[in-house]
């Protein structure tokens, strides 16, 4: 039997890799992929908890997370298409209109 802590550790590592990728990449497509990576890490930890605590609520939550992830990917990619049509770049450091 694999202990629950191993799953939490694995999920943490994947999540942190996603966070780091989001912070250091300049390509917006890869940043969106990193968000998917983070959501997957969260799903993994939710399912591990659901299995070890013998409660199905975690898996119900995973279904909702997958729904929101699909919606987020659709909206994010639509924003990307609109952005590319107006600016023809997908680099974060070339998008300085908002002076952020």
């Amino acid at each position: 039997m694999v202990p629950l802590e191993w799953y939490i550790a694995l999920s943490t590592v994947i999540f942190i890799i996603g966070v780091t990728g989001f912070l250091i990449r300049r390509n917006i497509i890869i940043m969106l992929i990193c968000i998917e990576l983070m959501l997957n890490a969260v799903n993994l930890s939710l399912i591990a908890f659901s299995h070890y605590l013998q409660d199905l609520k975690g898996q119900i939550l995973v279904i909702f997370v997958i729904t929101v992830a699909a919606a987020e990917a659709a909206i994010g990619l639509a924003i990307l298409v609109a952005l590319y049509r107006n600016k023809a770049v997908v680099h974060t450091d070339k998008l300085t209109e908002m002076k952020g």
Partner: protein
């Protein structure tokens, strides 16, 4: 022994694939590696007795979300992307930040105390079948969140069309 070996294989492959994904220069390569990663995560779900979620993972993530990503990448002309720098100039700060969060969470994992167990033991789920057990909980106890989720999808559809539409 065998479960640990399986877990070690899946853990090593998922971590290696995540590192590959965030360092590829070509987004298409990233997305294709992501496909392999999703199959491995589905394997981990099967390992945790969550067959339905594993199937949903493969169908929805690998089948729908990644195809969406590939479509958009193919629509954009990314020739110029491939010749430019892949990381931002301040990337060591980002890596240091990630590592510090990792250390912080790892210290707190050892302090973890499991809460009380629920009523869905593995034997009960096996007897009832997993999909049926999930369906019963989802459509009785969580029917309102389920409806809200459908609303979120509707907003996503409308929002995607409005955002990506050509301005007339």
């Amino acid at each position: 022994m065998l479960p640990q070996v399986f877990f070690a294989y899946f853990a090593i492959v998922t971590i290696a694939l995540s590192l590959i994904i965030i360092t590829r220069k070509n987004p298409v390569h990233s997305v294709l590696w992501m496909l392999v990663l999703f199959f491995h995560i589905a394997g981990l779900y099967l390992f945790l007795n969550a067959e339905f979620i594993a199937a949903v993972q493969v169908i929805l993530y690998a089948g729908a979300v990644l195809v969406l990503f590939l479509f958009v990448i193919m629509m954009l002309n990314l020739k110029e992307e491939l010749s430019s720098e892949r990381f931002i100039g301040e990337w060591p700060i980002g890596v240091a930040l990630g590592l510090s969060i990792l250390l912080f969470v790892f210290f707190s994992i050892s302090k973890f105390i499991a809460g009380p167990s629920g009523e869905f033991t593995i034997e009960r789920i096996l007897k009832e079948t997993h999909t049926k057990a999930i369906g019963k909980v989802l459509y009785t106890e969580y029917i309102l969140p389920f409806e809200v989720a459908s609303l979120i999808l509707l907003i996503a559809i409308v929002g995607a069309i409005v955002l990506a539409k050509k301005r007339t």
